[in-house]
């Protein structure tokens, strides 16, 4: 396949790392098929692709976590076989995972010590930790316990830990997914500096704007195969997306004249203590959501979004019934089943284990939330035909792709399962839909279907509350946006007025008043 744009010039004759015909097979599934990639020093190389395109498999192979089925890797021109991650680290390959491997109850220094080979004393290591974090502008207090830190700070630990091994090659898996826009800018400065120092960086992301800005080369994977290696700066976001998806993605369309009318979901001064040690306390959360309207809640993960979802769904009950009002009825004291009977529907963030029972059939998962208010249960007996009908309707309306009519939930891909779960709720024609991370880990095609479904639901007069960490998604579908920080919810603002800068500041904890005050002082 011809490259669409010429890749940039390289320093040196041989690449730092080369994969030649790298193939990984799981049974009959080809996770990677004959992938050739050249990684050069002093370059930030983007790895793009949808979920399931094989990005994770590829980097895990390069980091020694997976053995390739075929093909080989060359390190500075010589064949390299990795027996494990420690082998990779010994050569100077470092990796920062999307999901942190940190112990909440240990300090920063203790966590770093656990990831190193332990040849130096704890005191020397702590001193080096402070030095590395200072030099790279990644401030960390080695003595603090991890559970007290924000997600951005936790990521800093992972990065510093990788930097302390003096890597020649650093892999970052979706590093900005959990950061505010300002924190992401900070990270880019660090990465540019590492690049200037000669380090090679492999950067996995699906945020195309970011990749265009930061990366020198981009390799695009689709269905396990390399589609292209190109210069992202010479491409448009649309052309990159086309290569990732292999076709055009339909843009979502909002209905032209949407009526916002009566309040259908009202939250009044909701304060709720966390039910576990590391949870977040909800503090005086108030908002009003009208029929026909989509309200977005932005914020860095772990700022009380999960707690708010549980309080709205009724998985946790509030003391005062009036704190949550669904369609005019005080519901703070009602169970999730009673709230569903009032016309509310919920889609939690975790698909497997929360929204759906993984090892149960789709029809049973339809019953999971449909038992309260549909014909699926009569006199205590379940109506299998009605359950299957819901599966069929969701399959048809939302293009759920599956091997059989009624497979286990866990056998579906993330995107198809999410379409089923969203479909299951929307088919009940809810008055209020509360949905958390609707397109998390979902391929672009499915994400477009889901976003369109949310817009259509609002157009039909329902109130929709969307919690997401993806600002692009919120900007695309919401009417108003509020930001959650440390259990507080900001005053919602019209989406047209919500600049990334404004949202980013709120996500980082500064209130608008403070900013305006600072602005006034500066002027």
């Amino acid at each position: 396949m011809p490259d669409s744009t010429p890749a940039v010039q390289h320093t040196g004759a041989t690449p730092l790392l080369q994969t030649v015909g790298l193939t990984k097979r799981y049974g009959t599934l080809l996770a990677n098929e004959a992938v050739d990639i050249d990684i050069w020093p002093q370059q930030i190389h983007a790895l793009l692709g949808e979920n399931g395109a094989g990005k994770s498999t590829l980097v895990k192979t390069v980091y020694g976590l997976i053995q390739p089925s075929e093909g080989e890797m060359r390190w500075q021109g010589e064949q390299m076989v990795l027996s494990g991650p420690s082998d990779a680290r010994a050569r100077g390959i470092g990796m920062v995972f999307q999901h942190f491997s940190l112990f909440d109850n240990l300090t920063v220094a203790e966590n770093v010590a656990l990831g190193l080979d332990g040849k130096e004393s704890f005191k020397d290591m702590s001193a080096r930790l402070e030095e590395v974090s200072r030099v790279y502008g990644l401030p960390l207090n080695p003595k603090r316990e991890v559970w007290q830190l924000s997600v951005g700070e936790r990521q800093r630990i992972e990065i510093v830990r990788a930097l302390m091994q003096n890597p020649k090659f650093l892999i970052l898996d979706e590093p900005t997914a959990v950061l505010t826009p300002q924190e992401a800018d900070q990270l880019f400065i660090v990465l540019d500096r590492l690049k200037a120092e000669g380090c090679a960086i492999l950067y996995i992301s699906h945020k195309l704007a970011e990749v265009k800005r930061l990366c020198d080369t981009a390799t695009i994977l689709r269905d396990g195969k390399k589609v292209s290696t190109c210069n992202p700066k010479a491409e448009t976001a649309a052309s990159l997306a086309r290569m990732m998806v292999g076709g055009e993605i339909g843009r979502v369309k909002a209905a032209a004249n949407r009526q916002t009318n009566v309040p259908r979901l009202v939250v009044n001064d909701l304060t709720l203590a966390p039910d576990d040690l590391h949870g977040v306390r909800l503090q005086h959360v108030s908002f009003e959501l009208r029929g026909g309207e989509i309200l977005g809640i932005a914020g860095v993960a772990g700022n009380g979004q999960d707690e708010l979802f549980a309080a709205l769904s009724g998985e946790r009950l509030a003391q005062d019934p009036d704190t949550v009002v669904i369609d005019g009825r005080a519901a703070g004291h009602l169970s999730i089943t009673q709230r569903r009977k009032l016309g509310a529907a919920f889609v939690p963030e975790e698909r497997l284990g929360h929204a759906a029972a993984p090892r149960m059939k789709l029809s049973e998962n339809a019953l999971l939330t449909g038992h309260a208010a549909s014909g699926m249960v009569q006199h205590g007996f379940v109506n299998t035909a009605a359950m299957l009908k819901t599966v069929d309707r969701a399959t048809e309306a939302f293009d759920v792709r599956k091997a059989r009519r009624d497979p286990e939930a866990a056998s579906l891909s993330g995107g198809n399962l999410q379409k089923f779960i969203v479909g299951r709720e929307i088919l009940r024609s809810p008055a209020v839909l509360v949905v958390s991370q609707p397109t998390w880990g979902v391929d672009a095609g499915a994400a477009a279907v889901i976003r369109q479904a949310l817009l259509d639901l609002a157009a039909s007069g329902a109130a929709v509350l969307v919690t997401s960490q993806d600002l692009d998604e919120l900007t695309e579908i919401t009417d108003r946006i509020a930001v959650m920080f440390h259990g507080h919810l900001s005053e919602p603002m019209a989406t047209v007025d919500a600049s990334r800068e404004k949202l980013g500041l709120l996500m980082g904890g500064s209130t608008l008043e403070q900013k305006e005050a600072a602005h006034a002082a500066g002027a």
Partner: protein, 363 residues
């Protein structure tokens, strides 16, 4: 070359069906080795164990009689295990059911009480077993106490209570000081189905319990709730199902069935209350529940199979002087293989040739 376990994309229904058979096969191989080590001919020992009881009418009836309590208890246990509640104390619930029902039999002894006595005894047995089963359930729900420990420890309490009653207040005055109650009156006895035979009404009750269990699990919302709570607790809460309530329900049903099995055993084959009314039915039923894949029909088959091991064990002791405890060894090995083979439902074995690790020497 190495052997690895690889996760399957979806559970294999074919393996789910044959995994108990693989387990039985592996158990038989292990037992043959054991018999050979005991100096017995494995083929004839297995013949005495598993074939002889099946060709004799009396033994066949006896198998059904032994399977009755096993199946009833295991159906209840399967509800607990599906809900992820580990009731290990069915033996105790069985004994308390026997005691509670026997109370009425002892109190009405020699009076001209009518045919209501037996149904009332069965009801008392069920209620007694249910209440006894609720003790560990309440301790779990209310205080977070491990039901595995509490339910097991309550077995010994029940055992000693029964012992006290038949040695003290309920002892038969004409019983030559043996620790037993008097023989129950005919109205307090479970009738036999065939005149002069051993098969009794309890067998029919067990079949009804199997059918009810199958309907409950496959066709009712409560059965679904029990399964979800065990399989995905967070999804169950999201579904609006109250896990504490379901744990109490599962323990109550389980205790009731064990208790009823207890009083049926006492009012049927035994005929009076005495220590040692159970050769460990409550524990063997755990194996029955798992061998039957926690599925009512599977449990019926597994119950008959384990009853066969009891009868075969007795015959092997008589015919070949093989110790009766070998039966318990057999049951233990069987449970071990059943649980081990279950991993094949979600995983498969795979031979991996020439992994890169091996070829590293050539580098």
């Amino acid at each position: 070359m190495q052997l690895v376990l690889e996760k399957r994309a979806e559970r294999s229904n074919a393996i789910a069906l044959i995994s108990p058979l693989i387990a039985i096969g592996l158990t038989l191989v292990t037992m043959s080795i054991l018999f050979a080590m005991l100096g017995k001919n494995p083929i004839s020992a297995l013949g005495v164990y598993f074939i002889d009881p099946l060709v004799d009418g009396y033994s066949l009836q006896e198998i059904a009689v032994k399977a009755t309590p096993l199946v009833m208890i295991a159906i209840g246990l399967s509800l607990c295990y599906l809900a992820n509640a580990w009731n290990i104390g069915a033996e105790g619930q069985f004994l308390i059911g026997a005691v509670a029902g026997s109370w009425l039999a002892v109190k009405t002894q020699g009076t001209d009480a009518g045919p209501w006595v037996l149904p009332a005894m069965l009801l008392l047995g069920a209620v007694g077993g249910a209440l006894y089963g609720l003790i560990p359930a309440i301790c779990k729900v209310r205080f977070g106490a491990s039901e595995i420990l509490t339910s097991l420890m309550l077995v010994y309490v029940a055992d000693l209570l029964l012992d006290y009653l038949v040695r003290g207040p309920w002892r038969d005055p004409k019983g030559f000081n043996f620790p037993t109650t008097a023989e129950f009156d005919p109205v307090a006895t479970v009738p036999v189905l065939i005149e002069g035979g051993r098969l009794h009404l309890g067998g029919v009750i067990a079949l009804v319990v199997v059918a009810a269990g199958a309907v409950l699990l496959a066709k009712t919302i409560k059965g679904f709730e029990i399964r979800v709570v065990g399989a995905a607790p967070r999804a169950a809460r999201f579904g609006g199902f109250n896990s504490n309530q379901l744990i109490l329900l599962a323990f109550a049903i389980s205790g009731a069935l064990a208790g009823m099995a207890g009083i049926i055993e006492v009012a049927g084959p035994v005929g009076h209350l005495q220590p040692g009314i159970s050769p460990g039915y409550g524990f063997t039923a755990i194996i029955v529940a798992f061998l039957g894949r926690l599925n009512p029909i599977g449990i019926l088959i597994a119950g008959l199979f384990l009853a066969l091991t009891f009868i075969g064990g007795e015959q092997a002791q008589i015919a070949m002087k093989i110790p009766l405890d070998v039966t318990k060894v057999f049951q233990g090995i069987l449970l071990f293989f059943v649980l081990a083979c279950d991993s094949l439902i979600l995983y498969r074995f795979k031979l991996v040739f020439a992994s890169p690790k091996v070829s590293r020497g050539a580098h």
